[in-house]
Subunit: 348 residues, 2 copies
């Protein structure tokens, strides 16, 4: 005997990202702002001038990637239960990627789902984590190994928060912005070459470009499973650099910047990109004081780490290589000797 | 500036429930069977004669509702990470509702989602937890407060597992079966009146009826938000009884049986059901040695507990009352005096 459970339905997880000065908003429900002490100290006053609620709670968790874990999730949920939050309540993620990923995860499992709004406060989280719905936490086995796909109700991006961002962190965000321009949008790339991102309006325009680009990719990816992988341009090399330096020497975006330079060299060698185009990308990265060189001490070890990094059991490495400016190819047929030749350019 | 993220799509979470002798099946992937020591001792040999895998792991968690918590989830995930399970691996929930709910929850958050199959081993989990996709764990604030809606890939129901079920636990499952028949299907109810559930084939037919009934309700509920609530027939009164007896004196199904008798009295009083129909339900419950009476010591306190039990802030109590046999109404306009009059029939 067989009973079929028909659960085919249309799900609408669409949402809007508004890039503008934070609007005034009152929520007629319980609201918890999830943040960390540093962001709260810098920007909570600004937020509270604009956001109000029937009942408002502020929950802080310690700042840093090392606190993106189950203990912080427990701490947040403890507070929500304690204040009798229910499914009609609302969470607001107010911080960078760590706060966004954790709040999103909590909102996916608290009473089987509660709404959340993202107000990202770093450039990286504004252009990257605000699109895609990946939520999660780390554990001792690795990053983002526990989580869910869960979309926010909306994202509010205000470039005002970036004014207090340390220069290095701002640059790390720019690296991801450059990544999206190089792989998907030449017009965007040329805009960045001309842009003065210290001008808030120009910066907002760059954020819009980046968000729109990622949105297009994520929307298309439902059919073309490869496309979203293109967002990892610079990451294949970057991850090895992060690994070799124990995630201490470089911010993620900085390692990605070097990774893009390495990928570009490989692209030039394989005839996908001109030397001049590679140079333009490097110049743009240097404009934001991003590192573009790295001394590889053991070339064979560096190469082997590509394989260590793979989660899946399949043994081919897919290189994500720019094809000129504004286009990208995924190649899993690159010969080892070509990769080694590029790595040797970075050798001691 | 506003960017719209369009995420409207058709999601197919359909799956099949097979009610039959467990089929032989080989999975060409890593498989973890999540179970408890008791079920494993009784039935793992039977399972392993039929289920094999490329790599097979058995993970046991302590038996009982009190272990349906974060600690057990951590224990399961620790083992999965330790054995390098990835998104292509498979979990099999092998046990009752606790095992099913926890395994489902783990499968919803492990690496943002991994497949799972349910092989429920109690009557209650076969007819109830196998349909609906509710997964979750308890914490000190209450039951199922952390979780997700997450559907299994399939459910395999084999009445063989019920042969070792203690009589009381079997009866508790029957109570939920009766509940579905009374509220939705008169033909099913009359089948149960005639049925000898000690005959495995007849029992399988009853399970099929119950699963099909719940499947119809869950499928319809996407539009009619009230309908699924009808599955709580007997639960409004039953929860108060469980609460008053600290969840110790009665199994959940037993409290629901008494709750149904109470709801029926109210239905008779309000002219929704004949005295004779109420008696037929009571007789059916008695056939499986289910309790049908309970001495209320403090009628006012019993009534007040209806309100304590409400998760939401709205103050109306919705009574789920049978309308004859095979139909149900939800009423939030029942006068207190009618409820009190019924409770007085159960008074000391």
């Amino acid at each position: 005997m067989q009973v079929h459970i028909p659960l085919k339905k249309t799900v609408d997880n669409s949402y809007d990202i508004t890039i503008d000065t934070l609007p005034k908003r009152h929520f007629d429900t319980k609201v918890a702002i999830i943040t960390n002490p540093k962001v709260a100290g810098l920007h909570l006053a600004y937020l509270l001038e604009r956001i109000s609620a029937k009942e408002l709670y502020i929950i802080t968790v310690p700042d840093g990637e090392e606190y993106k874990n189950q203990a912080s999730v427990d701490l947040i949920m403890e507070s929500l239960f304690n204040h009798r939050f229910n499914r009609k309540s609302l969470l607001i993620a107010f911080g960078g990627g760590v706060i966004g990923d954790m709040t999103g995860f909590v909102s996916s499992i608290y009473q089987r789902g509660i709404d959340f709004i993202q107000i990202p406060t770093t450039l990286l989280s504004q252009v990257d984590a605000s699109v895609g719905g990946k939520t999660g936490i780390n554990n001792k086995y690795g990053k983002n190994l526990i989580g869910a796909f869960h979309q926010p109700q909306e994202v509010l991006i205000d470039a005002h928060f970036l004014t207090t961002l340390p220069k290095r962190e701002f640059g790390a965000g720019v690296a991801e912005v450059v990544k999206m321009a190089v792989t998907f949008n030449k017009e965007f790339f040329e805009f960045l070459e001309r842009a003065d991102l210290s001008d808030t309006e120009v910066l907002a325009k760059a954020i819009e470009y980046a968000v729109q680009t990622k949105a297009d990719v994520v929307a298309k990816d439902e059919k073309e499973h490869g496309l979203r992988a293109a967002l990892n341009y610079g990451h294949t090399f970057g991850h090895v650099i992060e690994n070799e330096t124990n995630y201490k020497q470089f911010l993620h975006g900085e390692a990605v910047a070097i990774g893009m330079v390495m990928a570009n060299r490989l692209a030039v060698r394989l005839g996908l990109m001109s030397q001049e185009e590679a140079q333009r990308i490097e110049n743009l990265l240097k404009k934001y004081d991003l590192p573009t060189s790295y001394e590889i001490k053991d070339i064979e070890a560096f190469y082997e780490t590509f394989y260590l990094d793979k989660k899946s059991s399949d043994t081919k490495i897919t290189f994500i290589l720019p094809k000129g400016l504004g286009d990208v190819v995924l190649l899993d047929t690159v010969e080892k000797e070509d990769v080694i030749a590029v790595l040797e350019e970075f050798g001691a």
